[in-house]
Symmetry: C2
Subunit: 174 residues, 2 copies
């Protein structure tokens, strides 16, 4: 799909096609539609980031809370969204040893207990080892710092999900 096609979509199709680029937050996609037309993929990506930035801190925490745990119950139970499923398995989250799995569960719980939102990381830009390292390190952060860090990861996930759906015309002209 190129950007001209995206710009011509009625809001219902826009939300159906792009509604999960921010995990379980179709309202963000539905809001971004107000800003069309987008001159290119970069502008579309920026519109998502900018909308997220307008949210109050509680809203940013809300975005994080719509994300599943890494290597959590949803992965084991097959109830992840299609996108999360691909990202988590791509990073090897479905292939943890039982010791690693127990450790991730314990660290996820500790993280959620401390911050009131889940650990979010762009799995596509990480592997099992770096996910575990970041989870272990970030659980000691301050809440505000960790909220901002999580939101930066949400934006990276959003960007990669958008790029899987919308062609970058700048690149396709090369």
């Amino acid at each position: 799909m190129d950007i001209a096609t995206v710009n011509a979509l009625p809001y219902e199709d826009f939300v159906n096609l792009l509604g999960n680029v921010v995990e379980k937050c179709p309202i963000i996609t539905a809001a971004v539609w107000s800003g069309r037309p987008f001159s290119n993929l970069t502008a579309l990506e920026a519109a998502f980031s900018e909308f997220i930035d307008t949210l109050p801190e509680s809203g940013k925490e809300g975005v994080l809370r719509c994300h599943p745990d890494l290597a959590g119950r949803d992965l084991q139970g097959g109830t992840l969204t299609h996108e999360s499923q691909e990202e988590q398995t791509g990073a090897g989250m479905d292939a943890l040893t039982s010791a690693e799995a127990s450790r991730v569960t314990r660290l996820n719980e500790e993280y959620k207990e401390r911050f009131g939102f889940p650990f979010v990381i762009c799995a596509r830009l990480n592997d099992k080892a770096t996910v575990l390292r970041h989870l272990s390190e970030r659980r000691h952060s301050e809440r505000a710092q960790e909220r901002a860090r999580g939101i930066e990861e949400v934006k990276k996930i959003c960007r990669l999900r958008l790029r899987a759906l919308v062609r970058d015309d700048a690149q396709s002209k090369l």
Copy 2:
């Protein structure tokens, strides 16, 4: 469920139980969790309304765009959320004559074409006749006025959905 039970819920349970009080916007529920504890049902209702008020105009339009058409494809296809299904059938939207159904479809399309978001009304506080009357009248409004009107209806829907889930302790003491 009483308010003390609500206040004790971890965010995951809070979102699972109350995640659709604003249609397809679990992020709003997830954000509202940040404001706990709530002194009573009225305070919980106010937290939802206040969060919606913090959204930029595009975000309010996003909320409206997460709503299905009244008597639309989702009702006919059985793909409404549980809550919308109950509300739309309660208002008789599943029992339109074929002439009424054609008229609603035409007016819905006209409304969406004009405003870029769907006609939203609290079906529980209306019946077939008043829904049709409001739809017919409101399609001639101004966009900003209609956005504000739709959001007021979203808040009414939210309040009634909350009251179906959380006991009003003030009343139960009477």
